[in-house]
Symmetry: C2
Subunit: 209 residues, 2 copies
């Protein structure tokens, strides 16, 4: 097994935290996104989508998506469950995680990638170049603010995002909040529940992964 | 079990096709999105995100996401497998399906929702109003065209999107291509593999679901 990573990128960080919470050590290769290594012939042969993370299994199969990799690791190492132990738990956590991806993660990506100076002409990851759209960055900022407020309300009576245990939905939320911070979108002071939760998530050893 | 649906909307159609392929009859309630029924008090009590699909289980649990619902149905009714029968199959199909969602489904949504006259001020589903962004519609069109070409190449040596059997990745692709058609984005003549595949998918009885 080989994990293609980039230590500064948010998507592979989701997998690093997930693996750390399970105590799984992934043999890791760094891909230098800043210098365009993802577009090299060598990396395209691994993942033609030119993105990380990608997990290459011993039989050569490539799983090139953060959540699909997490699902695979969960099946191989069910404890502690970070998605769920029953069909119903898995469905509820998957639905929540996908909502967080849509309303939070993608919005933070829109805010960040459509303004970052180093990403001019690279507003989306992948093999194609797309120009930044300032209005989309602005919409992303508004959406992240709406997301902060919705999560703050959700966490009023929950220790973790999905309820009483830590799940992949916490990991997605943590990584997107840290990404939003890079676009100077910080959790507002009045979102006390979300700030309490984020401090607790950030204090877990896995947050260093 | 009760399935909250809207017969004209693409996301619940993914679940309808999935259920039809498995021979599952879902007791269904239509939500009138055109007349704003998703914003009613009654529907907000079911899904505060104001979106369909939503599956309400007998114990009151709500699963409000198309792919999470499909995953739940797959666990309850494993045959025929539309996601996978092994951890590796599930990971590969999940990664592919998510790539299709990112590069195809979201792009078609961007193209459609940012131009449709009936969706002015409603460029995204959910409880918040966002204005249409013409540049985002344009980017969506370009991305869908890139997606058509990538899928055409993928289908050169595969009967189905994931390989030799029909999966959820075929369903996502079919629904997004039909949605793109509503934004006058049709599969180009030169994409013969994709046209062959789309004709075959559309001829399955489930396509009527």
């Amino acid at each position: 097994m080989k994990f293609y990573d980039c230590s500064t990128a948010p998507s592979p960080r989701r997998v690093r935290i997930f693996a750390a919470e399970k105590g799984i050590a992934l043999p890791t290769v760094q891909v230098d996104l800043r210098n365009g290594e993802q577009f090299s012939e060598a990396f395209r042969a691994i993942n033609p989508d030119c993105t990380v993370p990608a997990l290459v299994l011993d039989d050569g199969t490539v799983i090139a998506d953060a959540v699909a990799i997490c699902g695979y690791l969960e099946e191989l190492h069910p404890d502690p469950p970070l998605i769920g132990s029953t069909p119903l738990e898995r469905a509820a956590v998957t639905a929540l995680n996908r909502q967080i991806e849509r309303d939070g993660f993608l919005a933070a990506m829109d805010a960040f990638r459509n303004t970052a100076k180093g990403l001019k002409g690279r507003a989306l990851p992948g093999p194609h170049d797309y120009e930044q759209i300032p209005e989309l960055a602005e919409r992303g900022r508004t959406r992240v603010e709406n997301f902060f407020r919705a999560m703050d309300a959700r966490l009023a009576d929950r220790e973790f995002v999905a309820g009483d245990r830590y799940t992949i939905a916490d990991i997605s939320s943590q990584v997107l909040i840290d990404l939003a911070g890079r676009a100077k979108l910080n959790v507002p002071d009045e979102c006390a529940n979300l700030r309490r939760w984020h401090a607790a998530a950030s204090a877990r050893p896995s947050a260093q992964a």
